[in-house]
């Protein structure tokens, strides 16, 4: 079984070497004539605003949080789907119970307006 993963390891080494090599070559081959204007933040000609990293809307945080919960839920579904035919009606019903409880959560976040973007 582990043997099947050996080619993946080889591919990883090759891809990582390729990625790092590209970055390195790009840094070495290109000309290097820096000046303060060139190295400043690109703002389409506007005056540069030093504080680019500013706090953002809490919405993004909520989406990430909700995603995490549902992602863990989907993880349970994969082994179930693989064995779905063998588990039969009983397996189907127990997954419906599981999904129903999470649908309550889905309805809750919908009502609370987490999914609204204006």
């Amino acid at each position: 079984m582990l043997q099947n993963y050996v080619p993946i390891l080889i591919l990883f080494l090759l891809a990582a070497g390729f990625g790092l090599g590209m970055v390195l070559m790009s840094a070495m081959l290109g000309p290097r004539r820096p000046d303060s204007e060139k190295l400043s933040t690109y703002e389409c000609g506007m005056t540069v605003d030093p504080g680019a990293r500013r706090p953002f809307d809490v919405k993004y945080y909520l989406v990430a949080m909700v995603f995490l919960v549902f992602d863990v839920e989907v993880v349970f579904l994969y082994p179930w789907a693989v064995k779905f035919k063998a588990l039969g009606l009983f397996g189907f019903v127990e997954m419906l119970v599981f999904l129903f409880i999470l649908l309550v959560g889905y309805a809750y976040i919908w009502r609370k307006g987490v999914l609204e973007w204006e």
Partner: protein
């Protein structure tokens, strides 16, 4: 061969852990933690736990770390706060716990305990680690914990929204 690969992964996992502690920038810490998570996935795979390997990549290295990086980016936590220099109760408590942990790890070494091979041979592990086996067990023998997990997830979801909604 397997052992050599294990040590490579283990070394990266430990290096990542050290990186999390030493990096001054929270994003660098988070990136080190991603490295640790990916190395752990490799170690799970070496133990024939295919499904756990994939889930470790998807949920820990993927989803959970994305959330952490996201929050750091959103809050713009640039550098650790200066007040961490103070020696509070939490710090002392943490040090005591860490000390206990070191003792627990050192005692077996000092006593010369090396462990002995148990029933988990490679063949058993290869079977137990498969998705099919896991599925059979999870949806028959461990049905109740599985259903309770959904309630736990629901509580987590409602909690997160309730906390965040206060600040909207």
């Amino acid at each position: 061969m397997t052992l050599a690969i294990f040590f490579v992964f283990a070394a990266f996992a430990v290096l990542g852990g050290i990186g999390v502690l030493l990096a001054r920038n929270p994003i660098h810490s988070a990136l080190s933690l991603v490295g640790t998570m990916v190395s752990l996935a490799g170690i799970y795979l070496l133990h024939h736990a295919e499904f756990i390997f994939a889930i470790q990549l998807m949920v820990y290295a993927g989803a959970i770390m994305t959330l952490i990086v996201f929050v750091i980016m959103l809050l713009d936590v640039r550098h650790e706060e200066a007040e961490t220099e103070r020696l509070g109760f939490a710090k002392v408590f943490g040090m005591v716990l860490a000390g206990l942990m070191v003792v627990v790890l050192l005692v077996p070494l000092a006593a010369g305990l090396t462990g002995k091979p148990g029933g988990m041979t490679e063949e058993v592990l290869a079977r137990v680690g498969s998705v099919e086996f896991l599925s059979e067990k999870l949806f028959t023998t461990y049905l109740l914990p599985f259903e309770i997990a959904s309630v736990l997830l629901l509580v987590g979801l409602v909690g997160a929204v309730a906390l965040a909604k206060k600040r909207l």
